[in-house]
């Protein structure tokens, strides 16, 4: 009798330890969000979002940093999404299990583990110096594009996997070629999943600092050139702005509210992208369950 009770106790205790660990993880996230939101929200207003930094960056807003982050992320997406999609189509639709596929998968997994600062080194050496793109939106965007590539491939592949085999078989049976099948019967159904992956990749790219450190980000660059021109200019970026506001600015204590405001905008932007992505995936899954 006693023994059984002890066993039960043990189980209860064990499960509470697990629950506690989970609560710690949840607490960490909520603490981060709570701290940033509660201290950041008071500095966020219309002017903060739409104005450029003023008075030696102790006043004004962060609009150039938002725009810079946007341009860089755009280059990232334009670069990495098509390549990621095509690679995923090869892996999921064409490739047969074999050495090449194993090699590619190995490469993808390893690429996703390469430290972001190493991508920075690579981007600096390749894009800034060798290809002579200089310190620019283009160099940074391409560097981040390489960084996000493994995720875009993986996400696109996941999306292709969810399309039922019968869709392909139907078209092939009607005499369509492989490419016709993919184009008409696979891709349209995989698009929402790919979108999810794209948005998640974008969110990652928008928050990265180390790869843009040497490839183009500026301390202060309040001008917003028109699009094609902007590609070859330096830029301000939200994560880097947060970095300098908390470590390098003239008066880091005085501008702390601005730093918190920047962190707030960055976090909100990324949470928003994450939410949209998760929502798309959720709807997408539901749809397929019904089929």
């Amino acid at each position: 009798m006693m023994k059984i009770n002890w066993k039960k106790m043990n189980e209860k205790l064990g499960f509470s330890v697990l629950r506690l660990a989970t609560l710690v993880v949840i607490f960490i996230l909520f603490f981060i969000i709570y701290d940033i939101v509660s201290k950041g929200i008071s500095s966020v207003n219309w002017e903060f979002v739409t104005d450029k930094p003023r008075k030696g960056m102790t006043e004004g807003g962060i609009w150039p940093a938002i725009v810079g982050t946007f341009w860089v992320s755009l280059v990232t997406v334009i670069f990495s999404v098509p390549i990621g999609m095509f690679a995923a189509i090869y892996l999921n639709e064409y490739a047969h299990q074999g050495r090449i596929v194993r090699l590619i998968r190995l490469a993808i997994r390893n690429l996703s583990g390469v430290p972001s600062i190493v991508y920075g080194l690579f981007g600096f050496s390749l894009f800034v110096l060798m290809l002579n793109f200089g310190l620019s939106v283009l160099s940074s965007g391409l560097t981040l594009g390489l960084l996000t590539l493994p995720w875009t491939i993986t996400a696109s592949e996941e999306a292709l996997k969810t399309v039922p085999m019968s869709y392909r078989e139907g078209a092939l049976a009607l005499g369509a070629t492989k490419w016709q099948t993919i184009r008409s019967n696979v891709l349209p159904y995989a698009v929402p999943g790919m979108l999810t992956g794209t948005i998640l990749g974008l969110a990652r790219a928008a928050g990265e600092t180390a790869p843009i450190l040497f490839t183009g980000v500026a301390f202060f660059w309040p001008i917003l050139p028109k699009f094609p021109d902007a590609l070859f200019k330096q830029f301000m970026a939200l994560p880097y702005h947060l970095f300098i506001m908390s470590t390098q600015h003239h008066e880091i204590v005085k501008v702390r509210p601005l730093a918190y405001g920047t962190a707030f905008i960055l976090i909100v932007l990324i949470l928003l992208m994450n939410t949209v992505a998760i929502w798309i995936r959720y709807r997408f899954r539901k749809k397929y369950k019904r089929i």
Binding site: M57, F219, F220, W221, P228, Q248, H250
Partner: protein, 294 residues
């Protein structure tokens, strides 16, 4: 379809890339100068909206390296260019011209509770070399010294090493902070802390020394009188031993908008230099600037 759009974008951007040299100045370098130059460029751009100026930090070495590679127009430096760098520049076909935009008294700061009020240059050197490990070795309380300095890419780091440490190495235990302001924050929170920063960083908004911070008086040697860097005259006259010039380097004799901008810095901009708690250019440095055409 997507690919066509992509191609168009790339073609367009390549075309557009041709004409970006006009009215565009890239400035890079010293973190001591970055906040000053950022402010200067901000005001200048308000007056001359057709000129675009990008300021980037990273340290004096960063700026000079970029100038040597001819990737920027102006390099900020809180130390003069080294001979090695001048040679490298010549090899790359870059002719650096030196301009002094302000003067800085590098102040040595400790926590406000620290009873020490002054040190000699030699003592400070020993502390940062790690030869003096406890405050009681210089007549202070018994607590281990906690060092705050800049990272090796900073001109402040190099200048201090040259003029205070006698070109010897810093103690490897010195914390390498990302910026001057972070050193101030570190020392404010650290009763055993000692650090060095540009004099502009020790003041609060009202122009008083930050509460809880103490700026040490520094004596050239045991026989001379300790000098206060907070007194502008001491710094301008060079009586304060750790006085330095703040430099900008350009490739070739400045022309066009670079010349305009530097002229602004040396004219109207000197008021901003003072606002940012540095000291305006004076004396021999004025003569030197004339050589670069100002």
């Amino acid at each position: 379809m997507i690919r066509k759009c992509l191609l168009t974008v790339i073609m367009l951007s390549l075309l557009a890339a041709q004409g970006f040299a006009q009215g565009f100045i890239q400035i890079k370098g010293s973190d001591t100068l970055i906040n000053l130059v950022q402010r200067l460029s901000e005001v200048y751009m308000e007056q001359n909206p057709e000129t675009m100026i990008a300021t980037t930090g990273g340290g004096s070495g960063v700026g000079i390296a970029a100038l040597i590679a001819d990737r920027i127009q102006i390099a900020n430096a809180s130390r003069p260019m080294k001979d090695k760098e001048k040679t490298a520049a010549k090899e790359n076909g870059v002719m650096p011209y030196e301009i002094v935009v302000g003067i800085d008294g590098l102040s040595v700061i400790v926590h406000g509770d620290n009873p020490i009020g002054h040190l000699t240059v030699n003592q400070i050197g020993k502390i940062f070399r790690g030869e003096i490990l406890n405050w009681n070795q210089v007549g202070g309380p018994d607590m281990p010294v906690s060092l705050y300095g800049r990272q090796a890419n900073s001109g402040t780091f190099v200048f201090f090493q040259e003029h205070v440490l006698g070109k010897k190495d810093y103690s490897a235990r010195m914390k390498r902070m990302n910026g001057n302001a972070q050193i101030v924050e570190g020392v404010l929170a650290d009763k055993a802390g000692i650090g060095y920063v540009g004099v502009g960083y020790v003041y609060d908004d009202a122009g008083n020394v930050r509460e809880g911070l103490k700026v040490l008086k520094v004596a050239r040697d045991l026989d001379s009188e300790p000098v206060d860097p907070l007194n502008a005259e001491n710094v301008k006259s060079g009586k304060y031993p750790i006085t330095r010039a703040l430099y900008q380097y350009v490739n070739g004799k400045p022309t066009g908008e670079v010349k305009d901008f530097i002229a602004f810095e040396l004219g109207e901009g000197q008021k901003i230099v003072e606002e940012m708690s540095f000291y305006p250019v004076a004396g021999e440095y004025l003569e030197q600037n004339k050589k670069a055409g100002f």
